[in-house]
């Protein structure tokens, strides 16, 4: 039995209705303005207190190619993408045949009345909509009609499911930032579509929504916005970047908020700099220069940009310069599918740069971009190292329901910095000496007013005094110290999150945006009589708990969105004691992973 059937059976046991448990697929044309309707629907459901997710599956294109948006509402809070839809809004004539294949048997289809959708599958509940007529009658100028046409399906869905029109209007207010004429025009179409449906269509499907309180007091926000705000509350003062999907909106959010939040109260001038660099070489180079100087510094990019950043990552790591690098992953290799998701950069990021040095990588779940945003800056300063944060397109560009951002619970950490007074007291310092035994040396900032403050930072081999050295022992000792630093890092990074089920002998391991799908998998498997424990890894290098988890279970399945099982590979390498207990569930096709797939792949290996 698929999850869909499991849940549907449970729901249909109550007479008639399926309440707050549905998935909608909206198929439209890119650039047609459907995002307004989709986001407004998402927001209206959110404001009705229903757990809901929306995922934009869009092409790398400005206008004209097919695009899809999925909305899933689930009262139990399972919000991963579904493979199949209960309801299809078929607005794209070019893709309607394929789109219909994604509907469950007996599903619902809303479509413009001149489409053949109703004829293509006899099992459907069909709701034809007079899209052109309502757009024409809306009073919109001819050029705006294709845009307001999308409000027709918003109105018909509101009728079909019982979405509160007041919430739709409120969502439009937010979308159009209160611009009365736009709200009036669009909401007018929603109302007339609603009225048309009430008078002309007969409700024949079981789906409906009802107010809940599950989403009360929560935010609806995308991961890139969360990340940028997290960085701001972490004190970021220097950001350099180069435009790339799906990372651009992270830097653009810095652009939006930094001028509001980080001006010098006295002069009104900037306590920050954002530079759009000439490329990603320059972006990370500038961020490294700023980190070296003592600014809290970051950059944000995606895979192709990260390839260019490999050079500076290695320098920052070896010269021990603090900097934060966000990688909002898209699917590769090479240009790949620029608007589709994957977790294909994990191994690359962890081992980025030639010469073989592992890097610290934070792996936020969808709700953790804010927290990891400020923590990454503290960690980089503490470790004097590049700290990578691995997000992805699903986390970064889609909106998620999450608890309000929590103000950092500790003061800003600037790491081990010696002042001129310290140098007076100490009589000098050795830049790369492991004074404290944690592998982290002390540094001075350029400009420190002391004749013994200066040192010569270099990417070439160096001794404790930062002087050039080719001495084999000096080299080996320095690399051993850097290894010690990585061990220290493993103690400072966010620890894994465990979700256990009583009696579980089988483990699941994952990270990042697959979290909702794995939680749902855990639920389905438990219902099917297979209890599992789930460990969500939140950083590399691995915390000691990871080994305990693997060796404590008969088998552990590693779930990830890439083709080659990168986390699986890293675990086999770094937790060799558990290697024989590990199984790989790696899947990557550009779409957010679905629990249905994980369950099927799990069963296939178990049998």
């Amino acid at each position: 039995m698929t999850l869909q059937e499991t849940l549907a059976t449970a729901d249909r046991a109550e007479p008639g209705a399926i309440v707050n448990n549905l998935s909608i697929l909206v198929a439209t044309v890119n650039g047609s303005g459907s995002q307004t309707a989709n986001n407004v629907l998402l927001r209206a459901l959110f404001k009705m207190g229903i757990p809901v997710s929306g995922k934009n599956l869009f092409p790398s294109n400005i206008q004209g190619l097919p695009t899809w948006f999925t909305i899933r509402a689930n009262r139990q809070g399972f919000l991963a993408r579904k493979e199949e839809a209960d309801i299809l809004v078929a607005m794209n004539r070019a893709t309607v045949r394929e789109d219909l294949l994604q509907l469950i048997p007996g599903g619902v289809c809303l479509y413009p009345e001149d489409f053949p959708a109703g004829r293509l599958r006899a099992d459907l509940t069909a709701y034809p909509m007079p899209v052109s007529r309502l757009a024409r009658e809306s009073g919109a100028e001819a050029s705006l009609r294709p845009y307001v046409a999308n409000m027709v399906y918003a109105g018909v869905l509101a009728w079909e499911l019982g979405i509160d029109l007041a919430e739709i209007e409120a969502a439009l207010q937010i979308h159009f930032k209160g611009k009365a004429s736009s709200v009036k025009l669009n909401f007018g179409v929603v109302e007339s579509a609603f009225q048309f449906a009430s008078e002309n269509l007969k409700k024949k499907d079981p789906y409906r929504v009802e107010r809940m309180s599950a989403a009360e007091g929560r935010l609806l926000v995308d991961g890139n916005t969360s990340a940028a705000l997290g960085a701001i509350y972490g004190g970021v003062s220097f950001a350099a970047w180069y435009p790339i999907t799906p990372a651009s909106s992270l830097a653009e959010t810095l652009h939006e908020y930094l001028p509001r939040l980080r001006k010098d109260p006295q002069s009104g001038k900037n306590d920050f700099v954002i530079v759009q660099a000439e490329d990603e070489l320059g972006a990370l180079g500038m961020a490294v220069g700023a980190g070296w100087m003592g600014a809290r510094s970051m950059t944000s990019t995606s895979g192709p940009g990260l390839s260019l950043m490999a050079e500076f990552s290695g320098l920052a790591s070896y010269a021990e310069v603090p900097v934060v690098i966000w990688d909002v992953q898209r699917i590769g290799p090479s240009t790949g599918l620029p608007t589709r998701v994957s977790q294909g950069d994990l191994m690359f990021v962890h081992a980025i740069g030639h010469g073989g040095q592992r890097q610290v990588v934070l792996l936020p779940g969808p709700e953790e971009c804010f927290e990891f945003g400020w923590k990454a800056l503290d960690l980089a300063a503490r470790l004097q190292a590049p700290v990578f944060v691995l997000s992805d397109l699903d986390i970064g560009m889609n909106q998620w329901i999450m608890p309000p951002f929590r103000y950092p619970d500790r003061p800003i950490d600037r790491g081990k910095i010696l002042s001129a007074e310290d140098l007076d007291r100490l009589g000098g310092f050795a830049r790369y000496r492991d004074v404290d035994g944690d592998g982290i040396p002390w540094r001075t900032l350029p400009g420190t007013d002391h004749p013994k403050a200066a040192y010569f930072t270099r990417g070439s081999g160096h001794d404790e005094n930062a002087e050039y050295s080719e001495d084999p022992e000096v080299y080996a000792a320095n690399m051993a110290r850097l290894q010690r630093k990585l061990t220290t890092a493993a103690k400072l990074v966010p620890t894994p999150v465990l979700r256990s089920t009583a009696g579980a002998r089988i483990g699941l391991i994952g990270f990042g945006s697959t979290d909702p799908a794995i939680q749902e998998t855990q639920h389905i498997l438990e219902e099917q009589g297979t209890p599992t424990d789930y460990l969500r890894i939140r950083a590399l290098p691995f915390a000691p708990l990871v080994e305990e988890f693997i060796t404590g279970h008969d088998r552990t399945y590693v779930v990830e969105m890439n083709t080659d099982g990168q986390l699986f590979g890293l675990l086999k390498m770094d937790v060799p004691q558990g290697a024989s207990r590990l199984r790989s569930l790696a899947h990557s096709d550009g779409l957010p992973i679905a629990a249905d797939w994980i369950v099927r792949a799990f069963r296939a290996q178990e049998e």
């Binding site: 926000v221 220097f238 306590d271 180079g285 003592g294 002391h450 004749p451 010569f456």
Partner: protein, 347 residues
């Protein structure tokens, strides 16, 4: 300044330092390398201008020239970065603390080959710094390959003949929007020292291309980047006098053939016509001058172009007075109620 008791010879500058306190490590470059003359002039210029070495940063790329950053100003923080990427490191560093003077040390391969893109974006942004190219037309550390500034027809032992036209760093800088472009010759310490001081007084990117013969791989007398050729074909534009700004000193020079260039810090350069009647404030004339010199087979030295009208990258960043590197915690992290407002707006 923290308390350090040292015996002084008495020959100190305005900040009470001796010239030795501006020195770097012992050079490991070849004997007779032009780069050593450059580093020694940097030491002299910084000493004479009385810039505390702690208020200077040195940034460099990779190559013989970039190694040279270790051979001056040991009391200044230095960053020997990546090949061709010094401009980006410098940009981030300078924006994070514009109170410090930045001296960039690069070479022809570092600037005109691997780093041409970053170089042009640096001058376009007018990042306040002195950008020195020790230019010898040849790769030293990798033992004698042509760089992009190698002259057409140049023959080298292992590489044969260079058939490609050279990239002129000063011309690239001019076209890229540089606000200070000068060329000098490592064998002309007086001019080099004067230009270095002017470059240090300039408020934007000061590009200083220094022909610096490679005695090991490219010093045949017929090579335009050799000492012999340089001495024979150098065409200085002006006799140059640099007067650093000092509140006590108000000297008036008569007009005549002298041209005055004032910098934002109050320093002044006096130019006395030698050969060409070149106005360094005229960008088009500067470009024309470079082109004519190329066809005539000589290289012009001196202050080729300067303007103080263009805002720097620091200016347009509208930074507050406290450097980003020294912002106190309460200016790094916005107050809690601002986050409450954001949470409300996003809910």
């Amino acid at each position: 300044m923290a308390s350090v008791v040292e015996t002084k010879s008495g020959n100190t500058n305005l900040v009470g330092l001796e010239k030795t306190e501006y020195r770097g490590l012992e050079t490991t470059l070849c004997q007779g390398c032009g780069h050593n003359s450059i580093t020694s002039q940097i030491v002299t210029a910084c000493f004479q201008l009385s810039i505390p070495p702690e208020k200077i940063i040195k940034v460099s790329g990779i190559g013989c020239s970039s190694k040279a950053a270790a051979y001056f100003l040991s009391r200044s923080h230095g960053f020997n970065g990546l090949h061709g990427r010094m401009p980006s490191i410098a940009t981030g560093a300078v924006l994070s603390n514009p109170e410090l003077h930045a001296i960039g040390m690069s070479g022809d391969g570092d600037t005109a080959n691997i780093g041409l893109g970053q170089f042009k974006h640096l001058v376009r942004r007018n990042v306040p710094m002195v950008y020195i190219v020790a230019n010898n037309g040849v790769y030293g550390l990798t033992k004698g390959q042509f760089s992009a500034t190698a002259d057409q027809g140049l023959e080298l032992k292992h590489e044969g003949q260079n058939e490609l036209p050279p990239i002129d760093i000063c011309l690239e800088a001019l076209v890229g929007g540089a606000t200070f472009v000068a060329r000098s010759f490592a064998g002309d310490p007086k001019q080099l020292s004067t230009l270095l001081k002017a470059a240090l007084a300039h408020k934007g990117t000061a590009v200083l291309d220094v022909i610096s013969p490679c005695v090991t791989f490219n010093n045949k007398d017929e090579s335009p980047k050799s000492y012999a050729w340089g001495k024979a074909h150098e065409a200085p534009l002006h006799d140059i006098t640099f007067i650093p700004y000092s509140p006590e000193m108000e000297i008036e020079y008569g007009p005549g053939e002298l041209k005055r260039v004032s910098f934002d810090d109050g320093s002044v350069v006096w130019l006395k016509k030698v050969a060409a009647d070149h106005d360094p404030g005229d960008r088009l004339a500067a470009i024309r001058l470079m082109e004519l010199a190329r066809t005539d087979g000589h290289f012009v030295t001196g202050l080729i172009y300067v303007t103080t009208d263009q805002p720097t990258f620091v200016d347009i960043s509208r930074l507050s007075a406290t450097p980003l590197s020294h912002l106190p915690d309460d200016r790094l992290r916005p107050a809690p109620q601002t986050l409450d407002e954001i949470n409300l707006r996003l809910s």
